[in-house]
């Protein structure tokens, strides 16, 4: 769920500038580092009174927002604005460069060892929810992400600056000539995105207790994936994408292969239903009425119902007429699909008791991404800041 906060930043910058801010992950790390540094400097510990503790955390939050915002502004000014209006690859390269520079800067300032925050009770406190123990912090992350998502959606949809953002995103020059200060609008976008990343940094730090200088890379990459998954440029999409990604990562590894095998079988059954009932019906719609004799319809149906038989027949070169042979080659492909699914299920059943290693986590995440993008190239909720609402 933490991906959501970072993904929101990616999505916002992309939504307005049509450009992927690869340095966003590092901005997130900076947020975490600065808040950890603040907490360490203040000497936070559980012996402090609740009020002081809350004050210190607030101060850390302030640092976690302020530092990334400043860095974000500088990066925008120095590395992105001069390249605006050039080809798209240039700011992209610049962003990758900035990402490396920031990472090295973190090492230079804080050293290469992971920064660790003082252990606090509230960071590890847990409550029992429907019989499951859940960390309060995890709940807080979910609530905060959801609230920020709603606030952001509202910001983009209904406020003056939001309108300016949408206009800038669609046609920067035209927006400028309609009296919108595009530079200011873009700066604002970076401020919001960086602040969100900073908050994300603080929360991750509190959740895991420590942060490494290159943490931003993987978090950034996954948040980016989440943003693409939900439809990049789309605010609720980023949160949904993060949710889907987080879920698949968590549950993907805790599922054993036997379960996956059953899922494959379910897919196979659904596929067979589609193949035997829906597809022939659909094909019949495309056949002229005068040819649709009951006999002909039955033959078309048979091609799909007895797909393997017809597949073999087609491969042997026994074709009847043109239309049927189109259906028959269709049947060949369907058969291959069936065999593939059945084989996968069989393999998984054989290894039924084996579990997927956590090392497979990123792989699962990216397989999910590939599958979703194959069927919905614009992401789950579609692209663009403006299209959805």
């Amino acid at each position: 769920m933490i991906y959501a906060l970072i993904a929101l930043g990616y999505t916002m910058v992309y939504g307005v500038l049509k450009f992927i801010n690869f340095a966003h992950g590092e901005i997130f790390t900076i947020g975490g580092y600065v808040s950890a540094f603040t907490l360490l400097a203040l000497g936070v510990s559980d012996s402090m009174s609740f009020a002081t503790l809350a004050g210190c955390l607030l101060l850390a939050l302030l640092g976690a927002v302020a530092a990334p915002v400043i860095v974000g502004l500088v990066v925008e000014r120095v590395a992105y604005r001069p390249l605006r209006g050039r080809s798209r690859i240039m700011p992209l390269l610049s962003a990758i460069g900035v990402s490396i520079v920031l990472q090295q800067l973190i090492i230079l300032i804080f050293g290469p060892t992971p920064i660790t925050m003082p252990t606090l009770k509230i960071a590890s406190a847990a409550v029992s929810l429907f019989g499951v123990r859940v960390r309060v912090l995890a709940l807080a992350i979910i609530v905060i992400s959801a609230l920020l998502m709603v606030a952001l959606s509202y910001l983009v949809r209904s406020t003056r600056i939001g309108k300016a953002m949408r206009a800038t995103s669609q046609d920067m020059e035209a927006a400028e000539m309609m009296g919108i200060e595009t530079d200011k609008t873009i700066v604002f976008t970076f401020i919001v995105g960086s602040a969100l990343a900073g908050i994300g940094g603080l929360l991750v730090l509190m959740y895991y207790g420590s942060l490494k200088f290159d943490a931003g890379f993987l978090y950034g990459l996954k948040a980016f994936t989440a943003a693409v998954l939900g439809g990049i440029g789309n605010i609720p999409g980023a949160v949904l994408g993060a949710l889907v990604l987080g879920m698949t990562e968590t549950y993907g590894v805790s599922m054993d292969l036997g379960l996956i095998a059953w899922l494959v079988v379910a897919g196979l059954v659904a596929g067979l239903y589609v193949q035997m009932v829906r597809v022939p019906r659909h094909r019949l719609l495309h056949i002229a009425n005068d040819r649709r004799t009951p006999d002909y319809e039955r033959r078309i149906m048979n091609v799909y119902r007895l797909a393997p038989y017809h597949a073999v027949k087609t491969l042997l070169g026994e074709r009847t007429d043109a239309l049927l042979s189109v259906s028959a080659s269709h049947a060949v492909r369907l058969t291959v699909g069936n065999i593939f699914l059945a084989a996968t299920a069989a393999i998984f059943f054989i290894n039924g008791s084996a579990r997927i290693d956590t090392r497979w986590q990123p792989v699962i995440a990216f397989v999910v991404l590939m599958v979703i993008l194959m069927f919905r190239p614009s992401g789950i909720l579609g692209e663009h800041i403006t299209e959805k609402v």
Partner: protein
């Protein structure tokens, strides 16, 4: 008569090409001035220079006596110059009403925090802006009524998109309205209707500088016509004067025709 716009020896070149060459002209209050000229004669570049997209290489642009040359496009817009585009540039994913509201952007003052919290002052301002936007849209009777206003601008017909561009430009109550080929691609009936509406705008007090190829429209609305060729002003005056100017005929039809004409 008060001078609204004053171009004083404006030149603009791209590499070796002088797109606009020492251009000087005035537009006075409540006047419709048309710029004509063959393709590539520098008309749209002139518009782009006026609206701040390019900074002129030399010369000055005065709006009500105040220089606007070298300002950013949004600053020029704030000074009171609004424009439409030859190739439509609406925000096509935004609704019709939102497009007009974007045009009002510089007139609205509400800050971020206030608008996030929906303070009463913001709500009042927004309601006023919506009312004004609807009033502007009602200038085109029947074109943007009721549910059309919440439709995406991209789903409108071509002619309606042209009208919406004009509405969006009007939204900021500009001192000077720049129309870049407002009737391009419209059928004769639609262009005639729009012609009348442009005249209505002048009667309502707007000052208009317009680029147009449709001579029928130019004849119908212009108080004055400026002809350009190769970035240079070649003629200025009433429609009749300009249309019969041998240089103009030559620019459009070539040298030989100019001789036979004269």
């Amino acid at each position: 008569m008060e001078t609204i716009l004053n171009l004083d020896g404006v030149s603009m070149s791209f590499g070796g090409l002088k797109a606009v060459d020492d251009l000087t002209f005035d537009v006075t209050r409540n006047e419709i001035v048309s710029i004509i000229g063959p393709n590539g004669s520098g008309k749209t570049t002139t518009f782009n220079v006026i609206s701040g997209l390019y900074e002129p290489d030399s010369g000055d642009i005065l709006l009500k006596g105040e220089s606007v040359a070298g300002l950013r496009p949004d600053q020029v817009h704030d000074k009171g110059i609004a424009r439409t585009f030859q190739s439509l540039r609406l925000f096509s994913n935004m609704s019709v009403l939102d497009n007009v509201l974007v045009g009002m952007h510089s007139n609205s003052k509400s800050g971020l925090v206030a608008s996030m919290l929906r303070l009463p002052s913001v709500r009042r301002e927004e309601a006023a802006m919506r009312a004004r936007a609807q009033e502007i849209l009602s200038m085109f009777p029947g074109r943007f009524s009721g549910p059309r206003q919440s439709q995406a601008a991209g789903s409108l017909s071509y002619a309606n998109r042209r009208r919406l561009e004009i509405a969006r430009a009007l939204a900021s109550d500009p001192v000077l309205l720049l129309l870049d080929e407002p009737v391009a691609g419209m059928n004769p009936m639609e262009s005639h209707e729009l012609m009348e509406q442009i005249c209505d705008l002048r009667d309502a007090g707007y000052t208009i500088l317009m680029i147009e190829h449709d001579m029928h429209v130019v004849e119908g609305v212009s108080d004055r016509v400026i002809a350009m060729d190769h970035g240079v002003k070649i003629a200025e005056g009433t429609y009749e004067q300009v249309a019969n100017d041998p240089l103009v005929v030559e620019a459009y039809l070539g040298k030989r025709s100019a001789h036979t004409a004269s």
